[in-house]
Symmetry: C2
Subunit: 553 residues, 2 copies
């Protein structure tokens, strides 16, 4: 049997080092390059994807629910893949009995298996990119990067935290208490890592792998069995993931049923049965706040980690690079058609305008600059397709239509030229007054943004940071050349529990969250109760049971 820990120790060590320094590092190359992944990798991945279409997905796991699955690509392709269906009871019972061996594996063995899974997923990055693209609607490049390498990096980050936490607890200790002139009292102690039990990971439709991998690997590395319940519209990327995990577990001598897929449909959803199953001990959820609230309210006595949603803000005060600012904002609003949980929704601009390198600009001029930048970015249909991708759900498309009436349309949303088969929409930008809170304070998921006229910069910061605290936010962004304003914003957004990006004008966007460096979601506002990835995300997925016995001094 391969010693996966030895094989991957250098990778793990580097990951352990980086989660302490939180500088730049990536274990998995983000460029879909033939030089890295093999000259035929792209074609092979596409062929492998096509070979899956119209067939039952081969996943040798217990099934008592016929077959399920009805994914339709936002690009128009009907995947027509069916997955084994199973009841919550069967899944949980199977996972529970399968995990006994896994629970007794050492932290080293488990970390080795987890990283081997990640490495094999990495080798399948082109296949995964196709799967993510044709379920989430992401453009190919993003599907390859966010759905592949970046998701794998986030998974590895979770393995590193899990390994770190488990190995910080000594397996043995000798406790020797002095008794003055008498012999000391001596106890031999053993500390055993006890996994919580069966872990459930509920995935989302927009980032099926990126948002699930941290939870999946955190729970798995700490000895729990993992049931993966994908969004019914984005099963394939996680089915592929589960298949790889099962294959590696089996090779390593563990029961492959330690990882199970819980495919379901919108008509016959499984999530509630799984969340409330008494033997499910951990629930990780990414999705809407409505169902998130249900999960938090009903997963009684369980460990619950959520990423729900928020209203992300940009505050514009002043800039020494108006063009850079406008094009940076334009890109952030356009990328994956505003369907990132990190995408900005509200852009707060003082009603009296701002100071720039191009002189004073009125509120309307700022609106116009952003509009022009979006138009420019998306002027070339091929680039538009590559930046925007497709709209994952019809609900988002409907939302865009309905949003037009919420204020003055600065830039209207249109379909993308040449993507007739796909569901597409360019950004809708609406100007509102700060008092129109009903329009802009609700999360309007998708390519919908508001430029909010405020009384001044203090009003802008207060509103943006305040909405983070009350409505949730995952990202915030400020443009200001005034360090006093910057300091005020750092303070306010810190209180709002949201991370802040300052003066992004180049190749970095507020939407981006880098594994090993950026903490994704703080857990300190309603956007989610956990952070990817920190100690708190892993340390409670296992417990420690001590065993102590007296020995002679």
């Amino acid at each position: 049997m391969a010693d996966f820990f030895a094989t991957h120790k250098a990778t793990l060590d580097k990951a352990l080092e980086t989660i302490r320094t939180r500088g730049y590092w990536s274990a998995y190359p983000e460029m879909p390059s033939g030089k890295i992944y093999g000259e035929t990798a792209k074609d092979d991945g596409e062929a492998a994807f096509k070979a899956l279409l119209g067939k039952p997905f081969d996943l040798d796991q217990p099934s008592d629910g016929g077959s399920v699955g009805g994914e339709v690509s936002p690009y128009g392709l009907k995947l027509d893949i069916s997955y084994p269906g199973a009841s919550a009871d069967l899944l949980v019972e199977t996972a529970k009995s399968a995990m006994k061996g896994w629970a007794h594996a050492t932290p080293q063995e488990r970390a080795g298996v987890c990283i081997e899974i990640l490495n094999r997923l990495n080798r399948q990055s082109f296949l995964l990119a196709n799967a993510v693209m044709h379920t989430s609607g992401q453009a190919f490049m993003m599907a390859f990067q966010a759905g592949g390498a970046h998701a794998q990096d986030r998974g590895l980050e979770a393995v590193a935290y899990a390994y770190d936490e488990m190995t910080r607890i000594p397996a043995h200790a000798r406790w020797e208490k002095p008794q003055g002139p008498k012999e000391p009292l001596v106890l031999e102690k053993q500390f055993r890592i006890i996994p919580r039990g069966v872990a459930l990971v509920i995935g989302c439709s927009t980032f099926p792998t990126w948002n699930s991998y941290p939870a999946f690997f955190a729970s798995l590395a700490t000895g729990n069995a993992v049931i993966v319940k994908p969004h019914p519209g984005a099963i394939l990327p996680l089915a592929l993931t589960v298949r790889v995990a099962r294959e590696v577990l089996k090779e390593a001598g563990f029961d492959p049923n330690t990882v199970l897929l819980a495919a379901d449909s919108a008509e016959k959803p499984l999530a509630k049965d799984l969340v409330t199953h008494p033997d499910v001990a951990i629930v990780d959820y990414t999705g809407s706040p409505a169902f998130g609230e249900w999960v938090r309210g009903n997963a009684k006595g369980k460990q619950v980690y959520t990423e729900e949603a928020g209203v992300n803000s940009i505050v514009v005060h002043s800039t020494d690079n108006l063009k850079g600012m406008a094009s940076n904002i334009a890109f952030s609003l356009s990328l994956y058609t505003g369907q990132m949980c990190t995408a900005p929704q509200n852009i707060y601009v003082p009603r009296d305008g701002i100071e720039t390198d191009d002189g004073h600009k009125s509120f309307d001029e700022v609106c116009e600059a952003i509009k022009v930048s979006i138009d420019k970015l998306l002027g070339d249909p091929q680039r538009a397709a590559a930046v925007l991708g497709a709209v994952q759900s019809t609900a988002t498309a409907e939302r865009v239509k309905a949003a037009r009436s919420l204020g003055r349309v600065v830039r209207d949303s249109t379909p993308v030229e040449g993507m007739d088969e796909a569901r597409t929409a360019t950004p809708l930008v609406i100007a509102v007054e700060a008092k129109d809170e009903g329009a802009y304070l609700e999360e309007r998921f998708g390519p919908i943004s508001f430029i909010v006229a405020t009384d001044g910069i203090d009003d802008a910061i207060d509103r943006a940071a305040g909405s983070a605290k009350t409505r949730g936010a995952i990202t915030a962004s400020l443009y200001s050349t005034d360090e006093a304003v910057v300091e005020k914003a750092i303070e306010a957004f810190g209180e709002g529990g949201v991370s802040l990006s300052l003066n992004l004008t180049g190749g970095i966007f507020v939407n981006q969250s880098a594994a090993f460096s950026d903490f994704h979601v703080t857990g300190a506002n309603p956007a989610g109760n956990a952070s990817l990835c920190d100690s708190a995300f892993v340390a409670n997925r296992f417990r420690v049971a001590g065993v102590r016995r007296p020995v002679a001094a």
Copy 2:
């Protein structure tokens, strides 16, 4: 201003080292010795305690609720101390506005202040011992040790974990992403520790300091304001603690209202108002499962850490030291009149008896050996008083009376000779059949234990470990000379989420839980959802908000 961090750095470093090795260490001497604490310390402490009686307790904090307090010592003394009363709203508002400065202190500053508080509490150990004794009913020695030095050690342990977790997050990072031949992308990142907000610590009547200090110091060290709500019957030890904390905070330049006392009465309880206050972010609770369930159910969206209750078991299979075993069990049942959350309640013994160094012993002979050992231990009234202390509440005394009818009385409970002013009770021991689950599977807090006749050792282990999982347990103990039985028990109690002590026959008792070494409560069964102390206990008491900005490469 004193640099408390520099002063206490060596202590902190040693604590940080010990939480990794979990060997023996104690920062605070447990012996109430004049050589250590000063020759007049004992008399001074007693005098200081007496000086507090019959007066308003001097605690200069906001008050809008008159005065409260009606503590009566289980030894008969009426304390007649009144404390400033305050509404939940006033307390939370005060804490919230006071904590701003504290939230911005560095991990080093906060750790320094916390350890200075602990050191000053240590210097007041004799006063605290009197306070703990005359509220909890603990005998003086236990009040000094568990209420003083051991509680202080547990507090320091929490500070070490908190400091460790905070400082594992770098304050700054430089993120430099290569861009092939182009200039790298560079971000300067800042990671700011954001406390959760106002933390509430709800204390219990039996171990007012020991069970509160880990939560108090974990929340305080991570930058939160702390409101301490003692049990109405055991206010004084925590009032003294709050007073010292406020004094040190003030000296260090922080707002003393960062720590507040929420004294209340059984008639006008404050806990529910505080738990449900929207600005309370963290709740630590020690107490009954009934109110614990209420807390867990109503502290929506808050961090909740509980120690509730459980049914602790001893399983007897065989021993090479029958006398040692019996006297060890006798002491565990007697210590503080069975009012420790770690005290055993159920002793499972195979119906067919056990093998010992004194030959085969029948079930009845094992019962008798335990009875005789208790009688012997408590035969001398002075020793009895020192071991048993007093009964904290009348409810416990009533429970003892009611329990007599639950089975065959092996040893009856009696008052302690010469302690006429005090509420006392020696252990009641009852023999039952395994099928009498209604008698013994319920937690019967106090000096009530059951010797349970089982079908054999497997039945004994299954029942004991099973009850840990379903009813909760904090400790478990096994006597066996057979390593196969030991292995089975380690496995079963591990699954039950409870720590196990093996073959204790000398000066170590199952009730004892040593700071820095034993994890107290696993958090893996209904006895509590948290462990004292581990990473999970501290890591979610703060969050991290990042700030990032591009810089030139």
